[in-house]
Subunit: 348 residues, 2 copies
């Protein structure tokens, strides 16, 4: 266990904690008294059929996902009961940095997307007594969890909108994620995951941030200097003033836990490797929403999967790259709202 | 100075050396008795108007460029006098690893594309008495040098074919190259450039190789398992059996010298930053030949520049990514031959 104020209630709250008990992991091992950090907006209706679930992405927490929600918008807390659940390893839910021995730090076990979704299912059904979800939506690793939800619980998920993510991770994406992992683990301060403080790994985290700058945005983002929207005066300032501080505040083992999980996202594990069969199980109405400039979840990979989903449509988002998910462009959220609004209006 | 058999005549020869004397560099400093390693194919004709110049790319040498040449092909040694010149820092021409003090190893000065092209100009005119080039062509950094040639010596260059490269490097590409640089310089064995052997930096070179795997190929390359064409049985084998050995054989400082140069390729330095003015100087007939799947010299960036070149056409190459330049696909070289053949057939 290691102190890290970044993940505090002060920075990311208010959020609630729910203990779902021991989670037996697909890869073996247990997370004892696994805690899920979550937030809710709005109230369940009497029929309990107005719940929306939002899982989080790599390095993301409930805080950034709250920017997808708002009165009068598609994800409207006046109409829906919206639950954002932070993924395992996010730093808010059970994670390497905040866990006690025997699963602390480098000893935190490998977690899969499926473990998260089973844990989330427990929270949603046990804590709230919810048995159907009007919508599951999330970006990036949130999309991986969205797919997992739709395939694993086809009768429960009525609509799904995976944004900028795939149901089965690609080999290219796997190697990309390895470069992120190696940027961290190559730092001598990392010490096999038993570093003295996150700051001991700051060089590795900065390299990790720079690789994110290359793959997370796009050639157009830098050509158009879209970073000016974040109030930076130069590209260098943007790297040292945004990309680096964003990641250096985080815990290295937490990032590595999520990275390992991201690399192995694959719904076809439920169908002996048959992706078409897995996606064919989905009963939800699905909008597959890739980002046009995404360098590692490119639209064509998302479209291949969309074509395997019975009741689905491809809805392309125009943005400056994968990290357009942050909503730095004024026309990003309106696109999200438009598509999610349309999806929610379709009777199921 | 450090031993490295990779760059030997045995591995990359036969090649000739030409001493162009002291090169005064644009950034200041001198390379004393600068050596250019070059090879020639065919013979100059009487009018000396059949010369073709080919500069080399990052990590590349004359050896790989020889695969672009052949009897009956566009670059036909029976018709043309073809000169391949290895760039400064390539490991064959003057480079950090093969230079004596005061410019050995970490003390090798910063070199710009313009320094290379001025040096090459000296070789071509002094050694061969050639005053016009029927064609300059090269890939990647070879394209950067091709642009520099066409802008710097507009009366001398009759045709130019920059393949998978830009006249002015983009900010996205600059940051990408920084991740490559940092993969090497973060290795504790690098010791500020004064390592004991290239092997002391092998971990950094392997990380550098993996980032190349992500950006140098494409999502399609990995999805289609195009690496099978190189006779590998698994993706892991391809990484450890091809990407890693390819780069770990090289000298870290040599790679860093080329990387610094690549980051700053910019013909508009000749026109006070006015790229349109620089490209407007070109008198050559130009085919701009980007690779459709290139992740860091994408077609749209190349096309923007092509539109600024008076007598030019865009000729798109279909391939599995930037490193398609290696010619791993059977339909790669036929495309190159087709376009270069057409370009050479145009009277100028």
């Amino acid at each position: 266990m290691i102190e890290n104020n970044y993940y505090s209630q002060e920075n990311h709250g208010p959020y609630e904690m729910y203990n779902i008990g021991n989670v037996e992991l697909e890869e073996g091992g247990i997370i004892p008294n696994c805690q899920l950090a979550y937030v809710t907006f709005g109230e369940p209706n009497e029929a309990k059929d107005n719940a929306i679930l939002i899982p989080t992405w790599y390095s993301g927490t409930n805080k950034i996902m709250e920017s997808y929600i708002g009165k009068g918008r598609a994800l409207d807390p006046d109409k829906y009961f919206i639950i954002i659940i932070n993924q395992i390893g996010s730093g808010l839910s059970s994670s390497p940095h905040n866990s006690l021995p025997p699963v602390s730090m480098a000893n935190f076990p490998n977690v899969r997307i499926s473990d998260d979704v089973r844990a989330q299912h427990k929270l949603v059904t046990e804590k709230f007594g919810i048995t159907q979800l009007a919508l599951v939506t999330g970006g990036s690793m949130g999309a991986q969890q969205t797919y997992e939800w739709a395939v694993r619980y086809p009768d429960m998920v009525k609509r799904a909108a995976p944004i900028a993510g795939t149901a089965k991770n690609t080999p290219h994406d796997f190697i990309f994620t390895e470069t992120l992992i190696e940027a961290i683990t190559s730092d001598p301060g990392w010490k096999g995951g038993n570093y003295e403080s996150a700051n001991a790994v700051v060089d590795g985290l900065k390299r990790h941030a720079k690789i994110w700058a290359v793959m997370g945005w796009s050639t157009e983002f830098f050509k158009k200097e879209t970073w000016r929207r974040l109030d930076f005066k130069s590209l260098e300032d943007f790297i040292t003033g945004f990309m680096e501080p964003y990641f250096t505040a985080m815990d290295p083992n937490d990032l590595l836990c999520m990275a390992w999980k991201w690399q192995r996202g694959d719904v076809s594990r439920m169908t002996e490797g048959d992706l078409e069969k897995a996606l064919g199980r989905i009963k939800a109405k699905v909008f597959v929403m890739p980002i046009d400039e995404d360098m590692f979840f490119p639209p064509r990979d998302c479209e291949l999967e969309q074509k395997m989903i019975p009741n689905s449509e491809l809805r392309l988002i125009k943005s400056c790259g994968h990290l357009g998910l942050f909503g730095v462009e004024p026309d990003f959220m309106p696109q999200i709202d438009k598509h999610l609004g349309r999806l929610l209006s379709i009777p199921v």
